[in-house]
Symmetry: C2
Subunit: 298 residues, 2 copies
DNA sequence: CGTCGTACCGTACATTGTTCCGTACGCCGT
DNA sequence: ACGGCGTACGGAACAATGTACGGTACGACG
């Protein structure tokens, strides 16, 4: 079953080999072998979208170690390179062809190592979490759950800033890899043993995640819009508002009072920074009130 | 400038015309006109991704009324049909070709009415909000801000249940259309005048939105996974857990205690229902505590 | 030194959004 | 009634995508 439980061989690959491989430019100029018989067309009904194979992905996620294959390809290097591309140019710039080109490999060679693009992204998600926390107790070591939660929030924000493409992922029920598991464990431990029920722990953790995700996504959206239009948020509103008013019918008194105001600069914090801190504070307060209730009950 | 401020003509189109149009089946069999000269290839550098034109979209969003064009096409019918397809088969099943086919029109005819697919989706977003609230005061009419916020949350959830594709949208800074503006206004009014600052109103409203979105997205993800695999969440875990344990290394005591438990059924509520109510409650409590603080200050 | 598994990868294909441009419909002025 | 013209329509082509198929050749092992 998909090679779960790899043999765990400790053999070390002899370094240097793949660096001597000829560049793929030449291989491309090789005269192509003609196909003798034209391939019959497949009924389009059969081309239904491939379904992700969680079991296979699971095996790849928890792979123990690997030895480069003929071309020097490694699942890890594929994933790392993919992450680099996504970091640099965004998720939509990451195509299998482009990735293969960078790795100096034929496009279809990737498919020997990865079932498909969707699975590759799953693997990228888990890989991007590598080293998020030094150990599963790092957040818990902060003085008190408030500091712990703030620590978690900040680390997650840093994660999104390092890998903005994560915000395009809509991570909800991901396949669980080693790093995701470690992250989850570390973040739950902050809340463990302070008087919350298990269900409450889960709810608080997921709420914190949701908030940080939304907040960072908002910030990233703003960053992209700014880069695209060359306008800051405030400038954009200044330009759009007259346009909007010229076209709008109906009255929106409250919205037009609050909308622009919420987008003004709140020195020394920007709007997004404020939003981030506000949500974290709400989570902290929620926990505080839960803890208080428990203590009063005793 | 893009026809902002339409003339507002009241002329009514003579009904019946477009219904007599021949079906496009025939038109397709018409012998194609050969292109005289082969089109020279364009440099791929020039094929940069089209950037959304907000001003144009704004004009389309706030269009006042419209008269069907030659083929009977109307921006509104395009949008409505697109929404129907997305409701029925999901956003990824919605392609310009498919949409045109359903509308019995050539694919490119759509581009006379809509700048591109991205803008169409923007228009769909706003159109889907039509009638979300009977009027901008409907939420505020509920007895108290708690009931008001719960009302808003439930309406938003109903929205996502009617149009699950909205959950794939990652709506952050959308172009503001009439229905989105009305929604925003109605939801802000619930919080207006109960003692919160404008910044707090905005923060609370956006937090409620974020939560409902995340919660509904979670539920939808689960629904899709279930439909795809034929397994309920509980069954999926029952099948995956042994697989996971067989492959996992390292210890995750807290996660393995809480993870599966959070996914067990909490009768009579399902896990997602519980999560939804929990987050709404947090928002309500936050507002309550803010209001209390204000009253104590006075 | 053969042989066989498998990594590699060229080719092809379906499908996507969109550009380009020719066509023809139908409103408006004469 | 008619002619002109703006504009809605839409066919063909294109670049780009993920990936199915199947041929090739590398290299480990007998």
């Amino acid at each position: 079953m998909y090679g779960i439980g790899l043999d765990g061989s400790t053999e070390i690959w002899h370094k240097g080999t793949w660096m001597n491989r000829p560049t793929r430019e030449k291989a491309k100029q090789k005269p192509p072998a003609k196909r003798a018989v034209p391939v019959p067309k497949k009924a389009p009904e059969e081309t239904r979208s491939r379904v992700k194979d969680d079991a296979r992905t699971l095996a790849l996620l928890w792979r123990r170690q690997e030895r480069p294959a003929r071309s020097g390809l490694t699942l890890s290097t594929i994933i790392q390179t993919a992450i680099e591309v996504a970091d640099r140019e965004g998720l939509e710039a990451l195509s299998m062809r482009r990735l293969a080109e960078i790795l100096n490999v034929g496009t279809m060679s990737l498919y020997t190592h990865v079932p498909g693009k969707a699975e590759l992204v799953d693997l990228m998600w888990d890989a991007s979490l590598d080293g998020l926390y030094a150990d599963p107790d790092e957040p818990k070591r902060q003085p008190g759950y408030r500091a712990g939660l703030e620590f978690v929030a900040l680390r997650n924000r840093a994660l999104f800033e390092a890998h903005p493409w994560l915000l395009d992922l809509n991570i909800t029920r991901p396949v669980i890899g080693p790093n995701a598991a470690a992250k989850y464990e570390a973040e739950l431990r902050v809340l463990d043993g302070i008087g919350l029920t298990d269900l409450e722990i889960d709810a608080v953790a997921s709420q914190l995640w949701t908030h940080v995700f939304a907040s960072c996504r908002w910030a990233e959206e703003e960053r992209r819009a700014q880069q695209e239009s060359g306008l800051t948020d405030v400038e954009w509103w200044a330009r759009t508002l007259p346009l909007l008013e010229s076209v709008m019918f109906g009255d929106f008194p409250v919205a037009s009072r609050i909308g622009p105001k919420s987008n003004e600069m709140r020195l020394p914090e920007t709007s997004t920074q404020h939003h981030f801190r506000w949500g974290v504070e709400v989570v902290v307060q929620t926990v505080a009130s839960l803890v208080r209730d428990r203590e009063a009950q005793r």
